[in-house]
Structures are given as C-alpha cells and as structure tokens.
Symmetry: C2
Subunit: 363 residues, 2 copies
C-alpha cells in the first residue's frame, strides 16, 4: 500500500515531469499546504522559485525555509510596502505583482531610506477568469508597463503572470484544455505586443497555471517560462471531479471518530465538524469517506452527521463508538487551513505518525 | 457611537437578564468566541458555569481562565477518558455527556488508579433536532439512566440536557418559540418520568438552549434550571435573519482592504477570502458590508470579489486601492475560528485596537 508521503512525492514528481515535458520551470504555489517540507518536495529540493498568497507565507518560507526566490502573487497594496521592502532586501529575489495604475503610481512615489534595491514587479493579466489582472488586449495595459519601465532605478519588470482559475468551474477535459490554451495565449500574446510596442523591455519571465490546467495540459506551452500550480501536492475530491487526478492520488485525510449512533435517523455522529474540515463542498459533497458506503450529510461546528450514500440502512454493528473514519476532503486548501500542523501518517491502514509539518498561519 | 466592547457587554447583559426573567441560571456556551475575556463578560465575572464543545476548550478555560465548572457538551468517547479524568480531578465540577448505551458501559468499565472522583454525567436528549441525544419518550432512555445510577461510586447523574439546534433552520419567530417550547418540554417531561420511574434519582440540573431559542423566548421555562446559548456574544447576520437580534447588535467585523478595481466586471477585489471569514453563507450571503451598497459575490482563498448589491455601477472613485471595508459576517462562530486572536476595536469609525483576546485553538 502506497504511503501518504509517497503519494505527495508522486504527485510532485509528476508535476515536475509535466513542467519538463512543456519546457517550463516549475514555480509551485505553496498556499495549499503552507509547509516548508511540502514546498521542498514540490521544488525537488531547491530553496527557490515558489509562489505564495500572503505576506506571512513569504516571511515564513524565507525564514523557516530559507527560500530566496518568492513570488507574492496577489496585487500589492501600499500598506504592505514596508514588509515587501524588507523581503526584497533580505532575499535574492522577492517579486510583487500589480494590475492597477493606482498602485504603479504608489510604487513610483514610494520613498524610504532603506529602499536600496528596485522592486521586482510582475504584471498580472486576465485570461478570462475575471478575478484580477489587466485586460491584455487593452492599450492601457501597454501604457501601465511603459510607466513601470520609466523608473528603472525603482522598478524592474520581471514577469507577466496569469492564472486561469475558471478551470475550477468546468466539467470536461476539453474545457480545461481550452482554458489552459487561453492562459498561454493571453500572456504570450501580451508579451509579443510588449516587445513590438515598448522600448527598453528586458528579459521578462512568462508564467501561467492552476492545478487543473497544469494537470490536463494543452498541446504546447511555447513562449511560457514558468508553471504555477499548487493544489496538486495533496489534490482533493474536487480535483478528482475535475479530472485532474485519480481518487488514489488524493494525499490528505481528515480522521473522524464515531461518537454517536442514531438508527432512527440512519445516522452516525462524528467528532469532526467544519472546524476540522471546513464547510466547503456542501450537499453531501464535503468529501469522500474512504472505503465505506457513508457520506457527510450535515456539518456543524464540532460534529458531522454521517449517513449512507445510497440511503440503505447503515450496518451500525460495523461502527462501534470510538472507531475512526477517514475523509478524503472536497477542498484540501480549505481543510488544511483549519489546522496548525499536518501529521503525515504511514498509510491508510496505519495511523502511525511519521512526520509532523508546521503550517504557516496568519497573514 | 456604541463601541464593539459595549455591544458585547450589552448582548451579554441582555442574555443574563433573560435568564433571570426565566428564573434560570445562565451557563453560556463559549464555542463562538473561545476567549477567556468574552466568557467572563458572559458570566458576569463568575469563573464557573460555562459550556464548551472541545476538550481543548475545557483545558483552556480551566488553565488560562481558572473556570472551575465546565460542561463538555458533546457525547464523550473512550479516547477522551484520560483527559476528562484529569479535568474532573483538577476542577470543582467538570461534566461529561452521554447519549449512548455503549458509552455508559465504557464509563462503568473504566478503571484507573487516578480516577478518584465519580464522573459527573449529563444525559443528552433529543428535542427534535435529530443530531444527537436519546429519544426522551423511549423506555430505553429510562433504562440508560438506571444503568448510570447503578454505580454511584463511579458516576453521578448531574443533569439532563437538550439543544434545539433546528431553531437555526426556521423562518419565523413563531417557529422559534415552538422549538423553544419543545426544548423545554423534552427535558422537563423526561425528568418527570425519571422521577416517577427511577429509584435513587438525586438532584438533576435541567438545561436547554440555543441562541435563537434563548433570544426569542417561550412563555415560560418552568422546570428548567439552566440556559446554554453561545452565539449571542457577537451575534451575526444569520441571527439577524433569524430575528434573534438587530443589525446593530452584531459585534464582530472582518476588516478587508480593497486591492483591485475592475470596472468591466463591476467588481472590487478585497484581500480577504475564506481563510479570513470562512466560506459560510454563500450566494452573496457571506455577510453584510457595513454602510455600502456592496456585497461579496465570490470568495477565494485570500481574496474576495465584491460587487454592488443592486447591480448598479460601483462608484469606483469612492474606493481607492487600499481602503478598508468592514464585513459583518454571516456566521460569527465560523469567522472567528479562522483566527488566532480577536482585536477589539474602538468602534466602527475607529480601527484603534483597545484589546486583543486570545482564541483557544485545536481540539
């Protein structure tokens, strides 16, 4: 039986393999697990080239993990300048991201005696997700890049980034490939336009990625330098439903204990609620109870109501009070965020804890 | 303008007043806030008589708060016996709860050299919520109580408890009052039957409560000794929708910063996602953005998409990048659980932090 650590290693090796196959570097996102240990498996041991989603993560991976190349992939705001300046100073490469003219102005206006090194800036473009990013076809976007390049002592344009997060909302591999293609084309076409229209454009890194679009790849990623998926370390039942992985690839579990039996309701109560697994999923889709004809029907703060998937009577004798069930969660990012550390168990048949990994908390 | 601490105090004073009005003690639930500071406001300064939902809370309120009377209001299981035994030993009153014959057997079988004091046990009955609890009309439930009383050296029957959690799913005050009445009748009738049918029944405490049923009270609570609501400390938009409180009573906020502006999508991006507020609520019902015609449309891990409530164009000039918005959350229990501490701000107009309260984490 493959162990949980082996599953994580396999998921990470496969993604490193895919990035090689596409002639890209892998700059994995660390927001799903927020642990130094998993990040090192993602990078194949390199302490550089990761993507994060909070300033707290950047400090954590720099200090606890000695990572020295981190992309903070959320639009920066002025309240985070002092932290970002410090990170920029103590690391070889700390990159921030902009997609707004107001913030470019703030960046160019920023004056601080300790700000000795230019900001390394990535520009985010929208490839159809419509959460954030500049319109890559707008002349205003070209203009924003020109403004960034106007102050080489203050700003270095390092990269162009997009994230096809709408790949989480589709129902077929074809649609994922369509979005993966849109990710690629959005950034590659934008860089092509920049090269022809903007003076003084240096080397810029071109990055794309989400776990679905990096698990179900497009025909090619020519012109793309980096892939930025994150969830694939653990995967989850959402990714199974999206076709990004097989059920046996999901490497995270929530252990739940049966604490009550209610035959009148055809229900078992477990001692894990949304505090332990998050409430994401819903409608009996909170995840998969591994190896049993059981599902979570209702989640409360510290308890979950479990019933049979197909409505047949639960064989209650099979489940003594105190027995453990394992949930393969719907959304591993949300589940792991409910915890302060993750215990790496031997495998599904053994609750022996092989390692305990600390999770970065806060913002 | 009333400050946030004053709102908490007012919510707690009102609930203490309601319990007096009903001739009950208040044994408030602490699971919503999990802070010693709020618990002391709930009890009016007494370091006793609280209800908790995890063993970690019991240890936290005993050690950090010196509380010496705690009811652990979740069915106990054998894996928690050693912790419960320790809590029973170091506190004047630590109460556990059972609703299952298997666990009564385990309790009676439990032998440990340090177990010098009988378990103080509450029996949980079901008043129609159907999450947990014995059927109060079943003869098996009477039999379970007889078994508990059969070993007075090991077990002391201290109370009968019910929780009308289905009050969260109704749509009118009349329905809440109906459930509040069912809560009362379930436990009072059960105790009446016990008194007539069970030998050696001593003094038992009779407890009921949820925030809706303790905020919208039944005609009387004759025969009930204790009320156990919890959410009312902060309340939230769910409780507003349930009619338990007014919008101005909600005493908790999530501060979010505008980090992006996307007029094409009529959307502001904020730097708070489900990690900061939980994903509970959904369908643009994640909470109320205080004082603006804005609501959260989509929540991601570290970002939220905000649009106008009525579909009219957002006045983008009113929202510079970096400005703060305040969310009154849909479910304050879920929101506060996403954090390690709570900052008590002056009031809605001032982000001056008056106090910082530590939140009990873990299980």
């Amino acid at each position: 039986m493959i162990g949980f650590l082996d599953k994580i290693q396999r998921n990470c090796d496969r993604m490193l393999g895919r990035s090689k196959q596409m002639n890209c570097r892998l700059r994995p996102h660390v927001k799903t697990h927020k642990t130094v240990d998993a990040a090192l498996i993602q990078t194949g041991g390199r302490r550089s080239g990761i993507t994060c989603s909070t300033i707290a993560e950047a400090f954590f991976f720099q200090s606890a993990g000695r990572f020295d190349d981190i992309l903070y992939a959320v639009p920066i705001t002025a309240d985070k300048f002092l932290d970002a300046m410090l990170l920029n100073k103590i690391m070889s490469n700390f990159h921030i991201m902009v997609d707004n003219d107001e913030m470019v102005s703030k960046l160019l206006e920023f004056e601080h005696q300790s700000h000795s090194k230019p900001w390394s800036v990535w520009v985010m473009v929208d490839c159809g997700y419509h959460r954030d990013g500049l319109d890559p076809e707008s002349t205003k976007s070209i203009e924003l890049v020109r403004r960034l390049l106007s102050a080489p002592g203050k700003v270095k344009l390092s990269g162009i980034y997009t994230h096809g997060g709408h790949s989480y909302g589709v129902e077929s591999n074809e649609e994922i490939i369509r979005i993966a293609t849109a990710e690629r084309d959005a950034v590659v076409d934008f860089v092509t336009r920049l090269k022809s229209q903007v003076e003084g454009l240096g080397e810029v890194c071109v990055g794309v990625g989400s776990t679905p679009t990096c698990s179900t790849l497009p025909e090619h990623l020519n012109g793309v330098d980096e892939m930025h998926p994150g969830n694939y370390v653990y995967y989850d039942e959402m990714q199974v439903q999206l076709g990004s992985c097989q059920p046996e690839d999901v490497a995270v579990r929530v252990l739940m204990r049966v604490i009550g039996k209610y035959p009148e309701q055809n229900m078992l109560l477990v001692d894990c609620g949304w505090t332990g697994m998050s409430a994401q999923g819903s409608d009996a889709n909170y995840g998969r109870i591994v190896g049993h004809n059981l599902c979570i029907k209702v989640l409360k703060q510290e308890a979950g109501e479990v019933t049979s998937i197909d409505g047949t009577p639960i064989p209650f004798d099979k489940y003594p009070i105190g027995c453990l069930l394992q949930l393969s969660p719907y959304h591993s990012c949300a589940t792991t965020h409910q915890h302060r550390s993750i215990h790496i168990l031997e495998n599904e048949d053994s609750t022996h804890v092989r390692h305990t990994w600390s999770i970065c908390k806060g913002w």
